[in-house]
Symmetry: C2
Subunit: 445 residues, 2 copies
């Protein structure tokens, strides 16, 4: 009998969880990804802030799956799905290939979104890929370089202002680490400017940062940020990004660097399938992650909008993708074996964490909450533990230790062109029209 073929698009947390669940199954698996590497996104902001090198949080998909001979990896970009003919069309190199499937899992994640203001992207890059991170690193470091050479004091002040838009975990972590970069790591490296005077602004449209955490931890996070010298604006809406900086309400704030962490837009899986998407571009899936009308097509992670068996909404975080992937894997196993479906999916919240600089973090495990220095150590331990690859764990630990002891950053390199910023987004036609800021709570942390 011919083996079933499972095609998984996207090798993020969700896609890899499906592979793991099927690692001993007698199936043929094809993993398709636009990039050659899996990315540990929770630490991506540390690449953008010059703490870690890209290779420490990205690992080639092929290396990860070398030991599984029933898995084939293809680097390519999916552009449509023929659900009737059960095949995926992908651009592989210069040509298009059709890859047949018996089961299809779409786990293609999300991209930052500008809510109808796509022209802001060039001014205010977001943080989803390695190229995004190195482009942001370039911008931050170049702003200091330009400030060092600028004559006009107003222009120096503008260049030394960095605005982070969006107060979810990514925004909070970026703002904290940039404040430390400017106020400690770079403090003695310039002759004409004083990087300690750098103004870091965090703008959150909602009433508090870290809105998905208990209020007590939001308050602690805002306090920790202020202690690091970050100006925290809550309930403040960014109405424009322009060449001068950002506009909050109707007040122009000059800023040389703008970083976008305000919202995400799902990848265009809905349009591949020809099904409706919600406002964030996500495919509405059934409780077991299959797409209504397509029993053998599943969507998981940030691309899916799902409510679990108890009516709980699965959040757009790594855990949601991992648990969804594992559940889909179990279902495929059961169907192939002709066994009954596994127990209905229930999302288990394993806790949320965010770090603020070198000494503080907040963690919420439902039954207990923790903040401050101890939370920071916990945050570090958890992230090291979940990082894939022994080599990366050692490398990241050494980098953190070195940064901790010396206050320095190891990766302050300006490389490549800004072009990397643009080549990697979804096509703009896939981004949906105007949504007010702060509507989306999904944040892949």
């Amino acid at each position: 009998m011919k083996k079933s073929r499972v095609v998984i698009v996207g090798a993020g947390f969700g896609g890899l969880a499906v592979v793991r669940a099927l690692s001993k199954a007698d199936v043929e698996i094809v993993v398709i990804d636009r990039r050659n590497h899996h990315l540990f996104q929770p630490l991506l902001y540390q690449v953008a802030s010059a703490v870690l090198s890209p290779a420490e949080i990205a690992i080639p998909i092929r290396s990860l799956l070398t030991g599984l001979p029933h898995v084939t990896v293809m680097m390519g970009e999916v552009d449509s799905v023929d659900t009737a003919g059960q095949s995926v069309r992908a651009k592989i190199g210069e040509s298009f290939e059709n890859i047949d499937y018996d089961y299809l899992v779409l786990a293609t994640g999300a991209r930052h979104a500008y809510f109808g203001n796509d022209h802001w992207e060039a001014l205010a890059p977001g943080l989803k890929t390695i190229d995004d991170a190195t482009a942001i690193r370039n911008r931050i470091l170049m702003a200091f370089e330009q400030a060092e050479m600028a004559d006009d004091p107003d222009e120096v002040r503008r260049l030394l202002t960095i605005a982070v838009v969006g107060g979810g975990p990514t925004g909070v972590e970026m703002a904290g680490t940039i404040a430390e970069l400017a106020h400690a790591a770079l403090s003695k490296e310039f002759r004409h400017i004083n990087p300690e005077q750098t103004r870091v602004i965090l703008v959150e449209g909602g009433q508090r940062v870290l809105a998905s955490f208990p209020e007590e931890l939001s308050i602690a996070a805002a306090q920790s940020l202020r202690k690091l010298g970050v100006e925290v604006h809550q309930g403040a809406r960014v109405t424009d990004c322009n060449k001068i900086g950002i506009v909050i309400g109707d007040k122009q704030i000059p800023a040389g660097t703008i970083i976008w962490a305000a919202g995400v837009q799902a990848s265009p899986a809905a349009s591949w399938l020809g099904v409706a998407a919600d406002r964030a571009g996500r495919v509405k899936v059934e409780a077991d992650f299959h797409v209504a009308g397509h029993e053998n097509v599943f969507v998981i992670g940030d691309t899916a909008s799902q409510t679990d068996a108890r009516g709980k909404v699965v959040p757009g975080v790594a855990q949601g993708a991992i648990q969804g992937g594992a559940h889909v894997g179990k279902q495929i196993l059961a169907r192939i074996a002709g066994q009954p479906a596994p127990a209905p999916f229930r999302y288990r919240n394993m806790g949320n964490m965010a770090t603020i600089g070198r000494h503080a973090a907040v963690a919420d495990f439902g039954w207990f909450r923790i903040k401050g220095g101890l939370a920071w150590w916990l945050w570090g331990a958890v992230h090291i533990f979940f990082l894939i690859g022994f080599r990366n764990r050692i490398a990241v630990m050494l980098h953190w230790l070195w940064s901790f002891l010396t206050f320095k950053r190891g990766v302050c390199l300006i490389t490549g062109g800004e072009t990397a910023l643009k080549s990697d987004g979804f096509e703009s036609r896939d981004i949906q029209p105007a949504l007010p800021l702060g509507v989306l709570q999904t944040d892949s942390k």
Copy 2:
């Protein structure tokens, strides 16, 4: 009395040697570089071959010079020198600045050159910058990805052929490390192709590889390369690079990836100064490195053509730049103090080394020569020792240890766009017309 100002253009080995010589002098120093980092070029091929991350061999110039308050670093691109007015014009950010000098040192290095065939650059990138290295890494890894997906066996064979043009140290080291990448590190990662069948071709126009070494060591290097599976073609002239591959003599050899290591062209310092350049674009300097007619302008390193006090030609290698920089520093010190000039410059050859894969190297110290495994350990020790920064030494040692034990490569990432390749060269107008291959022996190792 106003302090003398020394302007140093280029923070490579030569420029930093001048700073070191003047580190305690009562002068004002301005260092101008197009990039924000000093690069340890002898290990650049290991970034191109996915062993090391960029940050491990590149270190921000500002961090290096933080402890010297009399040194100002400017990131900018020089485009002319006004020797009468004693000022350098540089593009800093978007504007042009004139920087006055009392003493000027040009240490702007060299770039790979195509001897009148500049259109080859897009097909056959060279290796001089971090962006060059990551672009080459992308090409090599993408060729394997494309081969995995290709149907036509001829096309698979073409994609699995990598040609390295030029048999100097860079070419030899690249060919060796690529052979190991293909034959060991990637061997189990693909399902449709066998990377062990990768054909690595090294083409040298002269009669032997490593022409600057004693013949015995050239023979040993060619043998070690062949043992690694590299096809070594000596006395073979590349007459064309095209979309299919390279042409040797009149024979087309299909190759999916071409790497250019065949020759260098000095940076355009000669045109900035309005003086004559030799065929390789270098400024002919006097025995003490000053430019005839300009007592306070010095050119050192790969940008200079110099014959020392004993009539010896200073080679275009790191040692030449370092010794030249130290000598120029001493002269500036003496002139400022009103003391007699230091003893005439004599180049001291401290030895040449090249490594071939994981187990072999050749080293020539004049009075003794060594090859094989022991030379490899010596090569590793010397390179770790001269690498700048404690953190980088530890990181590189760990990466090497890891690669040595596991046969894996840690940095197999495909990131960014190919555009990085083009944005970083000298403008083509500065490259001089047709030179036959193999004329230049300078190779920055």
